[in-house]
């Protein structure tokens, strides 16, 4: 279990796809599940969704957007290097209808990495899948080809209209509903604010909507409760009871507040990491000059 990186590919600025050797996770993982990893001694444990699995190759794929120190450190790793610690598959798999249903998968930003395995699982079970993929702008749209190849229909939206339809994913979803399409279920994953409004869009029509939540986690095995979310007035642990819940029951405002709690510390860690990386780069330059 060396967790060796076998492929690294930049999908968008600061967004990197890694394929990692992890045979038992590749075999046991299901759509919607995640891994917890660490990249250094005294590093953080962070959860990342399993975007794709290749059981025959014994690999899993994760997509990492650099938002803080740990994701920055991770994205500095190269092919051939190992991820220090990798545990999974964690969480419950996405509930996949047995077939014959029309399901809309809504992904926003990095959330497309979660939509990818969901679309694959939904199709494999014999459902019709309409994917709505959103991004702020064209260059941030990820995994379009992969998801388009699996979906029956794919709608792309960008906030600035640089690609696909201009507007939000909720506009595209509303149009589908207004167009009289019979939709059996919606699954959404992306920024919390996006999921909140997707759920608000479907609620009046009573379309069952699953939201894949991304709270802060520490152990990811049900031990700490950092990831607790309120669903239907009840406290639930996203790591063992989720990460997917009935979106019409989720308290998204609480989730947003909880996600923001460590922002000052995250900034501090990032500033320090930048300073470290600059120092390291300066040292490398100095060493190179000494040699010359």
């Amino acid at each position: 279990m060396a967790n060796k990186i076998v492929q690294k590919r930049e999908l968008a600025p600061k967004t990197v796809l890694f394929e990692i050797e992890a045979p038992h996770i590749a075999e046991r993982g299901r759509a919607g599940q995640f891994v917890i990893l660490r990249v250094s001694e005294w590093g953080e444990r962070i959860p990342l969704t399993i975007a794709h699995r290749e059981p025959a190759r014994g690999t899993i794929t994760i997509v990492v957007q650099e938002v803080g120190k740990t994701t920055g450190d991770l994205n500095c790793l190269e092919v051939g290097e190992d991820i220090l610690d990798l545990a999974g598959p964690l969480g419950r798999p996405t509930r996949i209808p047995a077939g014959g249903k029309t399901v809309v998968c809504v992904g926003g930003g990095i959330g497309n990495a979660v939509v990818w395995p969901q679309v694959a699982a939904l199709k494999e079970a014999g459902n019709t899948v309409i994917s709505i993929l959103g991004a702020r702008t064209r260059e941030l749209l990820i995994l379009e080809d992969e998801i388009r190849a699996l979906s029956d229909e794919t709608i792309v939206t960008t906030d600035d209209g640089s690609y696909g339809r201009k507007g939000m994913v909720t506009h595209a979803l509303q149009d589908l509903i207004d167009g009289g399409r019979s939709l059996d279920e919606v699954i959404c994953i992306g920024p919390v604010i996006m999921m909140k409004f997707v759920c608000k869009t479907t609620q009046p029509y009573g379309i069952p909507t699953q939201a894949s939540l991304n709270p802060i986690m520490v152990d990811g095995t049900g031990m700490c409760g950092a990831c607790r979310v309120t669903v239907g007035g009840q406290t639930r642990f996203a790591c063992v009871e989720g990460p997917e819940f009935d979106g019409h029951q989720v308290d998204f405002d609480e989730l947003m507040k909880r996600l923001s709690y460590y922002q000052p510390e995250e900034r501090l860690a990032l500033e320090k990491a930048h300073a470290c990386r600059l120092e390291a780069a300066a040292a490398r330059l100095a060493a190179a000059q000494d040699q010359n």
Partner: protein, 493 residues
Amino acid sequence: MSDSRKSQRNINKAKTKTPMREQDPLQRIYNFEEVPLGYSETEAVQEARRCIQCKNKPCISGCPVGIDIPQFMRLIGEENFEEALRLIKSKNFLPAICGRVCPQEDQCELHCTLNKPDKGREPGAVGRVERFIGDYAMEHGLDALPAIDPPTGKRVAIIGSGPAGLTCASDLIQRGHQVTVFEALHKPGGVLFYGIPQFRLPKEILVREIDGLKKMGVEFVMNYPVGKAESMESIRQRFDATFIGTGAGLPWFLNIPGENLNGVYSANEFLTRVNLMGGYRFPHAADTPVKRIKRIAVIGAGNTAMDSARTAQRLQPEIVYLVYRRSRLEMPARIEEIHHAEQEGIKFHLLHSPVEIVDDGNGCVGAIRCQEMQLGEPDASGRRRPVPIEGRTREFAVDTVVIAIGTSPNPLLLADCPDLARHPKKGTILVDEQTMQTSWPDVFAGGDIVTGGATVILAMGAGRKAATAMHRFLTTGSAGPAPAAEQPAGQEA
């Protein structure tokens, strides 16, 4: 008794324990170093000679693993450290750890013949002497590996690397079985790593004990949550016997308003951030943040609550409160821990029951509101029930609340074993008390997953008991003679 033995023993008639030097409270709240500094050789010998070698040896019955304590104290008193070490290691392979974290005052020392508080006489300081020999062994490189029996060809899986699992692994590897320990987290040790703080159990000691097990041939697999990474069914196929020691790690909350505000932690999260993840060194030497706490309330009065409060005190806040709904007499924590907490300036609010955590207006903790209580009639636990005093509530301004009121069994593995017999209410695994065998004959269990939240030494005792039965099971096919009446439903003899 011969004259020579008498002169060797040289009894020390002091009424009280030989004091152990401690870090000064005003100094130690600025560091995470250990608080009690341990006995020197002279001090340990002096204390061991207080043991009067009484005939009844009541201390032994107070020890969950049945160490021959008078014999141990005699050997130390005679400065025969190597022999004393051999004796204790035959029953307890982690003396450096147990000497520190066992509640001796409720076990061996409680039963000590010397223990006469009304006459101002203290028991022999068994725990301190035990810690001495554990540390002495490490310092002098005496932790020679025990003899390993010839290979049996049997394979054993241990799930969970806490005190129960480590003890079970140690015993079974010595019997010649092949032992693999699976741990969900990235460090082995379970609660010894994530829960018990550095200042009470230095991690270096734990690491050293685990390295010893590795040298004996125990294989450790980290980051491997059985039930998720591999099914229990597959584990049972791959191994001839399995021990489950996954502990009670699922934290309870109070179910009061405001509990999901930012700044409310379970004790597990708070201690994990600080101990396992090293958060007290953020951002310089660790990446997991711990907030700059100003005013904190810890709820509960067990050892975990004391650990949380004392950990919080080391993060340099203005004030640490400990809030408990009963009185001092009912506090479940060790006396030593309560004493240390008070020395370190933690302010106790006893007979206060939290009723609401108040929002500061920004989704963070602003205060904790408590109902004042008084003691009524004894309840089912035999402790006097706290009852509210009508109309009396108090509010304490805090920015952080840590809830340390107990835990339930860890859910990950159990979710994968729906057919394993469990306690209908507590959810703990049901076992035969003699053999620790579960309703699945090849699967044994022990520690907090069976008892609910208890102590390190009880978990170690359970790990040892299970190992004995597992060895019998692996060599004879039967875990041992157990009265049928005590077996849980569905169990095969």
